[in-house]
Symmetry: D3
Subunit: 324 residues, 6 copies
C-alpha cells in the first residue's frame, strides 16, 4: 500500500502519517495488520513528564506535517512505501489519567502489531511509553539491542520523583526487567548534568556505551554510527528517539531541553548510516508542539520517523534480493 498521491490527501482533508492508509485493529481485528511490514501508531500520553508537558499532541501534528515528506529516498535508492507495506494504525486508546493501565494497553496493542509480523513505529507522547513498547518487543524477540538518542540517561531511580514509572526511568526498568541485551545499550547525545555521581552506574554495569556529544564532534557521526552498527550486528534493534537528544536550536518543541545536542544533520545521518540493522521497533517521543516554532521540530520528527521506516525498507529490499 504505497503512499497516497497528494491529490488524495488534499481531497480527503485527513492527514494520516505520511498519507498512508489508515487501519484499525479494534474494529477490523487481525486483518488490520495482515501483510503489513510496518505500523505507525500514536500514543498521545504525556502525563509522566517532570517539567513542561504537551507531547500528547505530537501524534496529531506529526500526521499533518509528515504529509510533506516525499517517499523516494535518494540516499538508499528506493521508494520507502512501495518497498514497505506501511499503515497508519491510529492511536493506542487509553484512560487519560491512569498510567498503569495505559502502559498495559500500550504493551497489548504493540503486541498485536508484533504478532502480525509488522514493525511498530510508535509516536509519543512522553518517553515513559518506551517501556511497554520494549516489553512487547522483547516478549517476541528476546532481549533487544537499543539505540537510544537522548539528552538524558533516563535511568533515574524512583526516589527522585516519588514514583517509579515516568519519562526519566524507562531504561532503568528495561534493564532491570531484562529487556535490553547486555552490552547492547547504545546511548547517543547524552549530556544533561546528573543528580548524583552514580547516575550512570546502572547502564554502565550493564555494558552500555554512552556516545557523548564531544565524541560525535571529534569522530564524526558516521564513525559513531559505524561503531554502533558493528556492535549490534544482527541483534534485533530497538531505536528509541527522544527528540531532546537533538539540540534545542533544531528541536525547540520539547519539554526538557538541554543545550549542546545533535544537529538535525547528525541525527538524520546517524539513522541513515545504520542501514542493514535488523530494526524491530522504534519510538519517537517528547515532541511538544505548543513549544515548537514554525513546525521545525515537527518537520525534524517526520524525517526522523521516515529514516527509521527507510531502514526497515532497506532491510526488506536486501532480504528480498537475497531471497531471489
Amino acid at each position: 500500500m504505497p503512499q497516497q498521491p497528494a491529490s488524495v490527501y488534499l481531497r480527503h482533508g485527513q492527514t494520516p502519517f505520511f498519507r498512508l492508509p489508515v487501519v484499525d485493529f479494534a474494529a477490523a481485528g487481525p486483518a488490520a495488520y495482515a501483510g503489513a511490514d510496518a505500523i505507525v501508531i500514536g500514543v498521545p500520553w504525556d502525563a509522566s513528564v517532570t517539567y513542561r508537558p504537551g507531547a500528547r499532541f505530537a501524534p496529531y501534528e506529526l500526521r499533518r506535517v509528515s504529509a510533506m515528506v516525499q517517499t523516494y529516498h535518494p540516499g538508499h535508492g528506493l521508494d520507502v512505501f512501495t518497498t514497505l507495506d506501511a499503515r497508519d494504525g491510529g492511536n493506542v486508546a487509553f484512560p487519560p489519567f491512569n498510567a498503569e493501565i495505559t502502559r498495559a494497553l500500550i504493551e497489548q496493542e504493540i503486541g498485536h502489531v508484533v504478532a502480525a509480523g509488522a514493525i511498530p513505529f510508535v509516536v509519543g507522547g512522553d518517553h515513559s511509553i518506551a517501556l511497554p513498547v520494549m516489553r512487547a518487543l522483547a516478549a517476541a524477540h528476546g532481549p533487544l539491542a537499543v539505540v537510544h538518542v537522548d539528552a538524558h540517561l533516563d535511568t533515574s531511580t524512583a526516589e527522585v520523583w516519588s514514583e517509579p514509572y515516568h519519562h526519566g526511568t524507562p531504561f532503568r526498568h528495561a534493564i532491570e526487567q531484562g529487556l535490553v541485551a547486555r552490552g547492547a545499550l547504545h546511548q547517543v547525545g547524552i549530556r544533561a548534568t546528573w543528580g548524583g555521581a552514580d547516575e550512570g552506574d546502572l547502564a554502565h554495569e550493564h555494558g552500555g556505551v554512552v556516545y557523548s556529544v564531544d565524541r560525535l564532534a571529534d569522530e564524526g557521526v558516521a564513525a559513531v554510527a559505524n561503531a554502533i552498527y558493528s556492535a549490534v550486528g544482527d541483534q534485533p534493534v530497538y531505536i528509541s528517539f527522544d527528540v531532546d537528544g537533538v539540540d534545542p536550536a533544531f528541536a525547540p518543541g520539547t519539554g526538557t531541553p538541554v543545550p549542546g545536542g545533535l544537529s538535525s544533520r547528525e541525527a538524520l545521518r546517524l539513522l541513515r548510516e545504520l542501514r542493514g540493522i535488523q530494526l524491530v521497533g522504534m519510538d519517537l517521543v517528547e515532541i511538544a508542539p505548543a513549544l515548537d516554532h514554525a513546525d521545525i521540530t515537527l518537520h525534524l520528527g517526520a524525517h526522523v520517523l521516515f529514516e527509521g521506516l527507510a531502514l526497515a525498507a532497506v532491510r526488506k529490499r536486501d532480504r528480498d534480493a537475497a531471497d531471489e
Copy 2:
C-alpha cells in the same frame, strides 16, 4: 450519523470536522451525500489574497480544533449532530495555480451537495471562494439573501488589482450576476476605510444594508440580528463569514485585519439570534493559522461553524415538529 465519541477520535488519530463521518463524492458518487442534511467541506485556496496569505491551511487546522466542540447546544436545546445528519465531505480538489478552474470546480462540487438536498458549509481558504459557492446555491434556490460578516465591503472593482476575481470582489460579482436578491444583502461589521467615495455605491444601490460596528455597539447585537431576521423572512439565506469581521484581538489569525470589529461574543450571538432562518449555505473564510496565537482564531472559527450548523439543526427540528 452523530458525532463519534471522543474515544473513537482518539483511536483513529484522524480529525474530521467535529469528529463527523468522512464521505467522498469522487469515490462513492451520489451515495456519499444521500440522506445528508449538511456537508462540511474544505477549500484550501488562498491565492487570491491582496495582503498576507496562509488561509489555505485553515481546513486542516479547523478539523483538528473542531474536535473539541461538544455537540449539545444548550441555547437551542438540541444535540446538533443527532438532529442533523452532517458529514465531512473532504476538500474540494483543484489545481493549485489556476483560479478560474478552481472556481469552476468549487461550483461543480457544491452543486453536487445542493443537488443531494444537503446544506454546504464551506471552510476556506480566502473569500474569493464565496462566489462559486453562491453561484451553485443560487442556481438551485434563486437569488439569495446574504448575511455577510466582514471588515470589508468586498465589492471592489477589477481596476484596483488588475484582476476582477480576488478576495476583495466576491460580492461585486454576486450582485452583478444576480445571485443576491435585491434588498437582501446584510453586511455586518464593515469598518475598513475605502479606496474612494463610491466604494459603497454598488451594494447601496442594490438595497444592501450595512450594520456598522457603531450600530452594533449602540443597539446591541441582538437588535441587529433581529432586524436581519425580520428582513430575510423566509428567503433562502447564505451566511458568508469572513473572520476579519471579528476584531483582531479575538481573531488575530487572518490576513487583512482591521481593528474595531465584533467581539467573539457578538459574532456567536449574531448567529444564535438568527434561529429560524432558512439557511441554505454558509462559508467561513480568511482564517490564516500561521498568524494565529494559541489557536484562538481557530477555536472561534470552530464555534462559528458550529453555530451555523446549529441553525440548520433548529430549522430541521422545528420543521419536523411542525410535520407531526
Copy 3:
C-alpha cells in the same frame, strides 16, 4: 506586613506574589501564618486536564508578573497590603504523579491556613485543585456560597474520562459532598457546549444560577454582580476563578479556551462590585503560561488575584471601622 518597595524586590532578585513577605509553614510551623489575614499559595499541579496542559507553571510566572501591581486601590480607596497582612505562603508540596495524595495534601495545607484565621488565595494549577480547597474551607465555615467564573460548568460525570476527579468535575463533587450551600452556586461566564442534555441538571437541581454571557451583555456586569451580592448576603463566599471564563482574546494562555467569554474589564469589575461580601477563600486556576502571549493572561491573573485580595481588605477595613 506591607508590600516591599520595588527596590527590595529588585535587590533580592526573587519575586514573591505582589512582593509580599515569604513564609513557610513546613519550616516555621503555626508561626508562619500567625496574625496573617491572607496567605497567597501556589499549587503547581496540572495533571488533571483533559486538553492542553501547562498550568503547573502559573504560580512561578504569576509571582514574577504580580510584582508590577501597585498596591493602592483607587476604586476602594485603600492600600491593600497596608490594610491586610498578606503573605506568600510558597507552594503546596506534593508528589507530582499522584492526584489522590495531592488532593489530600492541598486540603491539609489549606486547613492550616484556615485554622490560623487567614484567607487562602490559591493559585493553580488546574481546576481540580478547587475541590480540596473547598473541603478545607467548608470544614471550617460550613457549606459555602460559591462565585464560579468559568466557561464550563465543571460538573461532568466520571464516565466521560473514566476518572471521577479531574478539572471538569470539581463542582460535581463539591455539591455531592455538601460543600456548596443550596441555592448558593453562582456560575458566571458559562458558555461551552455540552456533552448531553442533562449536563446542567445537577447544579440546577441544587438551586445554582448560571449567569450567561448574554445576560452579562444585556444587563451589564454591574447588575449581575449586584444580583450575586444580594443573593449571597453574609454567607461565607468562595470565589473560584477559572481564567477561561474570560474570553481567549484577553486570556489566550489557557488550556481549554472557549470564545465568547468575559472581557477583562467585566471580570475585574465583577469582583470589584462584590465588595462587602464575606470572602473566605479564592482560587485562580487554568493559566497556562506557555500558551500566553506577551504575558497578557498573567497580567490579567495578577489583577484578578489583587481584586480578590482587595475584597478581603475592604471587608477588614469596614469591620475594623464598625468595631470602633
Copy 4:
C-alpha cells in the same frame, strides 16, 4: 500631496507613513514643511521606560503597516489625504543615550513643524516624548486642552525612580510647567492601581477629569466623547495616545500592559466622535513591536493615527467650507 498609489509604494519598496511623500527639514530647510497641513514624524526613543522596553522600533514598523490603510474615511465622508497636505517628516534625530538633549531636540524639531503652520503627529517611542512635544505646541498656542488616553495617570513624582523625567511623569511636568490649561486635562481609560493615595491629586487639583473604564462601560464611549467635546470647545487640543490605554487583548505590543482597558472599537470611536475639535498636535506612544502578535497592535496604531489625521482633515474641510 495625496497618498501615493499602491503601485508606487510597491515599486519603491519603501514604506513612508500612509505612503505619504517624505520630506526632510534638515536637508531642505523650511521648504520641507511649506504648505503642509500635517507632518507625521517618528521619535524612536524608549530609554525612559520603567518595565519592558522596545517602543523605539514603532516608527519603522508603523510605517510598514500604515501602508495598508486606505484613505477615504466613510464616516467623515472625505479622502483624508486629498483634503489634507500630510507628509512623512522622517524621524527626529537624537543621541541615543542622552535623554536631556533628546528632549531638547524633539522640542526644537516639533517647533519647526508648528512654525510652518502644520500639525505634528508624533509617533513614539515611549511616553516621555510627549513633554517636549507639548512644550513646542504650548509655546505657539498657549496652554493646551489635552485628551490623554492611557492606563496610567503619568503624573508620578521623581522619587519613585530617582529621576524626574521618564515615561511615568510627562503630565506632572506638563501641568507644573503650565502647558495644560486648567480644567482641560481629559484622561480616558485610566485604571492602573496606584503607588499611594495621593497619586491622583495633582491632576485633580488642576481640574482634570478622569473618564474611567467603568464610566465608558456605563455611559458608552460616544457619551464620554461628547462630554470631552463640549468641555474643550474651541481650545487648542493635544491628543496624547498611549496604546496601553487600550486593553492588552487589542494591544499586546506594549511595555506596561494593564487589563481592563478600552476596546479598539471604543478607542477609534472616541477619536471619531471628537470631530470638530481644534486639533493642534497628537502623539501615539508605547507600541513595542517585539511584544506584538500578528501586527495587531500596529494595525490598531495605524488606524488611531489615521483617525487623528482625519480629525484634522474634517476641521480643514469645514473651515474651508465656512470660508466660501
Copy 5:
C-alpha cells in the same frame, strides 16, 4: 555612493537595503542605473509556492534588518559600498495575480539592470522568480554557471502540480531553455526526499553536481567551495540562494523547511570562499517573515546578500588593481 551613515537612516525613517541610495528606473530611466555596479532589487511575489506562502514580504523586512549590517568586510579587507556603487532599485512592479506577466516584467526589469552594466541582486519572493532573472542574464552573458543553494533540486516536472512554472521548477526550465552551461550547475545543500527515482536525472544528465550535506560534513565547506571555485573558473556565475538550503534551526522563516541543512556559518563561508568568481547576478529567495522568529532568518538573509555583494566588490577591487 557609499552607504549612508546611521544618522541619515535614523533621520529619514526609511530603510533601503543596507541604507543604500534609492533609485527608480521607471521614473528616471537609464540614468537610474548609470555608473552603478550593483542594483539590489525586490520581487515581492510568492504566488508560486506549493506549501506555506509569505515570502512576498521579504523585500520589505530585509530592507529593515539589513540596515544593521556594517559595511567593512574584515575577511576581504574592504568596505563593500565604498568599493562598489550599489543602489536600492526598489521593487519590480507586477500585477499580483498573473504569474506569466510577472515573469515577463522581471525579465525586462533585470534586463535594464544588466544593460546598464550593473549586477542584479534580486530579493524574492519565491524561487519561481529565478527563471526570468536567469533569462535576462543569459541573454547578455550566454549560458551561466550556477551555484544553487537549496534543500530541493527544483527540477520538478509540470505534472506534479498541473502547472509548469512554480517554485519547484526554475532549474528544469533553465536547463531546458539553455540558460545553464553544461556541467556548470552546482547544487549545494540538496537533501529533500524525492517524488520518484528519476528526479535527479535532468540535472545529472546536464553534468550538474550535487554537493550533499554529508559531503559538506565530511569534507568541510571550504573544500566544497574550492571545488566549485575551480570548476567555474572564469565563467559568468549566477548564485541562486534559497534560504531553505540552510537548516530550519538557522532559517525557520521559510515555507518548505527540510531538516539537516547547512548551518549559517557554512552558508556564509561558502560564499566568502568563492571570492574571485565572476559573479553576474544573484538571488535570495523563500524567506517568509511571518514564520521567522526574532528576525533570525532575516539577519541571515541580510548577511547572505552582503556576502554576495562583497564578492562583487572583491572582483572589482582586484580588477581595478590589475588595471593599474
Copy 6:
C-alpha cells in the same frame, strides 16, 4: 551550602539561581559573603544597547530556568555545589536611568564580593556592565587575562553613538584603563562586519588574539580552547560571555544577533576545556528573554553559567587535593 533539593524549591515558590541560598550584603553586611567561594549576582540593566533592548529581564528569567540544572557534572566528576560554596547574591541595586552611577555601584558591589574572597558570576543586563566588573577585579588581581566570547569586538569608539560608555565599548575602556594584561585578550566567535578598517586595531596592538568562527570550524573548539588555556597559564582569568557569540539559531533571545556563530555545543565545550584556569570572575550578558523562544537561550545561558561555576569548582577541588 549545596543546592537545595527540588522539593524545597517547589515548596518556596521562589527560584534563586540554581536553587542556591540567597544572601543579601546590603542587609547582612560582610557576613553575607563570608566563606563563600562564588556569588551569582544579577545586574538588570539594559539601557546601554544600540539595537533591541530587553536584557534587563535576564536575571529573573535565568533564575527560573537555572532551577532545572542538576549539579553533578559528569565531565569533571564532581558535584559543583557540594564542592563550591555558591550563593545567590541578589541583584545590584541602581537608579534605572543613570548609567554613570550604575557603573559605580556595580564596581562597588562586585568589590565587596571580591574582598570576601569569592568569585563573582555576574548576570546582565547588557555588555556595558562588564567594564565595572573588570575594574573591581583588576583592582584586586591586577590586569586580567580575558576570554571574551562575542560576535562583536566591543571596542568601538565614542564617536559612533555620541557616547563613550555603552554595550559596544567595554573592551576599549578596559584596555585603555589597563584592566587587560597585554597579550591576554582572547576573543572567540567574533564575526560581525566592521564600521571601518581600523576597528580591530586597538585590540590587535594590545596583543589580543581573535579566534574566528572559521578557525573554530577548521581546528575544532578543543584546539582553540587549548590554545587559550596554554596562553593564559596561571594568569587571573575573566570570562566575558556575550550570548551573541553563539549563533542566533541557538540563542535567538538577544538584541544584536549575527549569523554564523558558535553552536551551543562548541560554547559549552570551550568552557569545559578550560578546566584548570584561575577563574576570578565571569559575566553572562545580552540575553533578552522577550526575544527568546521556548526558553532555549535561557537554558543555554543557565548551562554556560553552570560551566563557569564548574571551572571554579574544579580549581578548588584540585587546589584542595594539592593541599592535602
